[in-house]
Structure formats: C-alpha cells, structure tokens
C-alpha cells in the first residue's frame, strides 16, 4: 500500500470533527465519568471499564470507515479515483487499514488515561489489552467497508451510529455481560463484539476461551469478507 496515500487519508480522518467527538472524545469522557461514578474504589471495575471504553473507541473508528466510504461515494470521489491506478478494492483496503490505524488512537489514549488514573496491570496484560484488542478489530474494519458499500450518503450516519452503539452495548463494552439480563447475554454471545471485548475483560475476569474467541472472530472476518467481495463484484459489473 502506498504510504503517501495512506498518510493523507489518515490526516483527513484525524481532522474530521466526527472522529474527534465520537472516536476519541466519547470513550475518554465516558471512561472518566463512569469510573468516577461507580468504580472509584474498585480497581477491577475500573480496569474493565477502561478496556471496554478503549474497545468502544476502536470499534467506532473501524465502523466509521463505512461512513467515509459511503459519503465519498455519494460525492462522486470514488468515480474520480476510478480514473487513477487505485483499484476499487485497493481503495477499500486503504480505508480499512486507515480505520485500523486510527483506532489505535482511542485505544492508546484511554489506556494511558487508565494507567494515569490507577489501573494497574502487568506488561503481558497491557499487551493483551492494547495489542489484543487492536488485532481483534479486523472483522470490524471489514464490517466498516461493508457498511460503506451498502449505505447511502444519507443513511450511513444512522446506520454507522446504530451499528457501533448496538455492537458496543450488546457486546458488553459499556456494561460487563455479567450485568446483562439473561436474554441479552444470549444474544451477546452471537456478536463479534462480545468476543472482541472479552479480550480486554479477561485481564480481570480470567474467563477467556482463546480458541473460541479466535474462531469466532476469524469466522466473522471471513463471513463479512465474503459478503464484501460479492457485493464488490456486483458493483463493478454494474458500472
């Protein structure tokens, strides 16, 4: 992938107010708010909250990729790019990579603030919370691309926001799954975000099933990837 191109894409992402508010602002504010409200004297709850909000920010960054794709498509920018050597698939891969790189921002920021506000983990646990969470974002990066393919410029804000909120709450990033009603917990298990969030929660809960987690996330990646490719072929055949 072309680094100049990627760099310029990144710069544009970082400049957008939406990115600053939803992807960076909300996770940080909610972490500070919730941890002072009901996790002040409970280091474990604070850790879970930190991991959850970092995960929320990362997930939002990846899903928001879709917003940008749909908006750029409705503008006609993708048509402009079709007059360049960049292939439509290259464009989407660049967007997905961009989403992944941008996602590092809220993950690192929330975790650093967590560290500063008393979250204490050993290096291996930090690695799991930061790197594990980040790598597990891959299916959500693919999901972002899919949203960009199917949504229109008008609908994508609503679709994107609904997706990252439902995935975050349903997957236990806002409230630990243990606090969910039973029926919601059953639904949560089907969501990729439940397993994604589990990677961070595990440093406190010690309940991760590594094999299942990897299997579920890979399955989602492959499944979503196939839909993206199918959709992509239909799109290019039409024009």
């Amino acid at each position: 992938m072309n680094t100049t191109y990627l760099f310029l894409e990144l710069r544009r992402s970082l400049r957008s107010p939406r990115f600053m508010i939803f992807t960076v602002g909300f996770p940080v504010i909610f972490y500070l708010l919730f941890s002072s409200m009901y996790a002040n004297s409970d280091p474990d709850a604070k850790t879970v909250l930190m991991a959850g909000m970092a995960g929320f920010g990362g997930l939002t960054a990846c899903v928001s990729t879709g917003t940008r794709i749909a908006v750029e498509r409705s503008l006609g920018w993708q048509r402009q790019l079709r007059l360049t050597p960049l292939s439509p698939s290259g464009y989407m891969i660049a967007k997905a990579i961009c989403g992944m790189v941008v996602a590092l921002g809220p993950i690192l920021l929330v975790d650093v603030i967590g560290l500063a506000t008393g979250v204490s983990l050993n290096p291996a646990q930090w690695l799991q919370v930061v790197l594990g969470t980040w790598v597990a974002l891959i299916p959500f990066a693919v999901l972002g691309v899919l949203i960009g393919q199917v949504a229109t410029g008008d609908s994508v804000q609503a679709i994107g926001s609904a997706t990252f909120m439902l995935l975050s709450i349903g997957g236990g990033l806002w409230f630990p799954p243990e606090q969910m009603p039973g029926w919601l917990r059953d639904i949560a298990h089907v969501l990729p975000s439940y397993w994604y969030g589990g990677i961070g929660r595990d440093v406190v809960m010690h309940d991760i099933d590594a094999g299942t987690t990897v299997l579920v996330l890979v399955a989602w990646t492959v499944g979503l990837g196939l839909v993206v490719m199918r959709r992509f072929r239909a799109d290019t055949a039409r024009v």
Partner: protein
C-alpha cells in the same frame, strides 16, 4: 478483428453499448492520431459520455474494442497514459487542493511534481484552500490539475468548461494550448461550438450513437454550409423536392417548404422551373449552429 492502425493514440473499432432498448452507442469507428485535438460534438443523448466512459474503462462495451496507444483502457488509466476530467467527478470538501493533487499523484508510478500540475492548471495560488470552498470554475481547474498529474499522453475532457465564466474559460483554454503544444492528444466533448471551432483540429459529430460527421472544422462546415430556401409551394411533395439539384434535404410543413441547399442558386432555378406557383420565397445563410443542428437532428420520416 481490429482495424486500428499501429501507433494510433486512440482506436475505437465497432463500438456498441446499449442500456435496455436504448442503443447509446451504435457502432462507432474512430482513429485518433497522436497529437490530434479532437472535439466530440453532439446533442444530449448522442452517446458522447457513454463513448468517453468506455474509452476510460469505466464501462464495458457490448461489442467492439477500444485501445489507447495499443493498451486496453483500464491499463492505460493505470499506467497514466490517459488522463481525464469528467463531468461528475468530485473533490473531497475537507481536503485542501494541494492534498488532493498529492493524494492522486501518489497513486501513479511517475507523476508530475504536484507544484507543476497545479501550475499548469493555473491553480498554484489555491494550494492551501479546502476544496469545499472553491468556486465552480476553480473546482473545474483543480480537476484539470488532477487529470494532468499523471502527465498523460491522451487527455479526455467531458464538458470541461461548463461551470466556468468567460475569463476562467479563456484561462483554461490557454492552459490547454500549452499542454497540446507539447504534442499530446486531446479529446474533448463540448456543447460550445465556438470552442470546437477554435481549439480542435478535428470535429467528430455524434448523433443517436453514431458518428454523423468527422473532419476538420472547415470540412464539417463545408458539408453543412450553404443556404436554406423556404417558400410556399402548393402541392409539393418531399420526395420531389429532395431530388432537386443542389438540395441536400427538404421538409414540408403546413404548406411551406424548407430546402437545405448545397447550391441554392441551382436549387432555386430548378424549384421555379418545376413549381412555377412557388411564392413568398426566402433565402437565408446557414450558421454553424444551424449546421450543427441539421447534422445532428434525428432523421425525419
């Protein structure tokens, strides 16, 4: 079978494309030599944009072939051999002009330096401006810079000056002239006849998906120039009028005939001989605009 001679900048051979029942492009053959500046004229729906889309590999022909310096359109786009400025291409409102050009330049193996592309398109002073804050004419010139950034040998422009005011349009064509003086090939679609007249070596007129006329501006004018005779001729039939000497086309409407003539003197003599009752006769010169309309009008009856 491909009839395109080797070395042609653009070779279009038996090109066809339909959308449902509409034959948007209905059998086009066209060879453009390197260095030619060709204007593509025609009314809306004549198939200009569809042809341009296929030339750029944005859409696939139903049959026939398109080559750009021997390459398939998509390959020519990828290698930067062909550059284009289309009507509906957009810019990112949140990116600056400089960023936009740099972004697209980064996609090519051997791009022009960004400053040079900006300079050639006459937008060097806009480098730090957000694209969302540009006027229509400025936007067009930035898109021209985007088309130039790959340093293409063939440049395709679809209605390039449509959003420009008179002064901007002049600047644009000045920049274009500089570009074409280096021996590049240009194909531009336009509605402005005077642009075709002034800047094109050659005019290709399209009508209903076909090439209606193809030649230098002077040749095109010659085929359609001449005069129009109108008169009231009782009982005249189109068939009889069409075969009069000097008449290219004839029309009868509400008892009044209209003869498009290549030689109005001969036509008038013959008309008066065969239809002595002809009255209320007027002879008018055909402007380029009328000529254009005559050439591109749908075949009547």
């Amino acid at each position: 079978m491909n009839a395109t001679p080797p070395g042609a900048a653009v070779g279009i051979d038996g090109l066809r494309k339909h959308f449902g029942d509409v034959r948007a492009v209905d059998g086009i053959d066209l060879v453009i030599a390197p260095g030619e500046v060709v204007a593509l004229l025609g009314p809306n729906g004549a198939g200009k944009s569809t042809t341009v889309d296929m030339l750029l590999g944005l859409s696939k022909p139903d049959s026939g072939s398109v080559t750009v310096f021997g390459q398939a359109p998509r390959d020519a786009v990828r290698s930067g051999t062909i550059g284009a400025m289309l009507q509906d291409g957009a810019l990112l409102p949140d990116a600056t002009v400089g960023e936009t050009i740099a972004l697209v330049a980064a996609l090519y193996a051997k791009p022009l330096p960004v400053a040079k592309a900006l300079d050639r398109a006459g937008v060097a002073d806009l480098v730090g401006r957000r694209c969302g804050k540009l006027s229509g004419g400025q936007r067009q010139r930035v898109r021209f810079a985007l088309a130039l950034v790959s340093d293409p040998d063939v440049l395709v422009l679809d209605e390039p000056t449509v959003a420009m005011d008179v002064e901007t349009r002049r600047q644009f064509w000045r920049a274009m002239r500089e570009y074409t003086s280096t021996g590049r090939t240009v194909l531009f679609a336009t509605h402005y006849l005077e642009e075709a007249e002034e800047f094109a070596d050659r005019v290709v007129l399209m009508r209903a998906g076909k090439v209606a006329a193809d030649g230098s501006v002077a040749q095109i004018r010659a085929t359609v120039s001449g005069r129009t005779i109108t008169a009231v001729v009782p009982g005249a039939e189109v068939g009889a009028l069409r075969v009069l000497p000097g008449v290219r086309d004839a029309e009868v409407r509400a008892g009044r005939i209209t003869l498009a003539c290549v030689d109005s003197d001969a036509a008038l003599r013959a008309l008066l001989t065969q239809f002595p009752l002809a009255s209320d006769i007027e002879i008018t010169a055909v402007g380029l605009e009328d000529a254009f309309l005559a050439l591109t009008a749908q075949e009547s009856a």
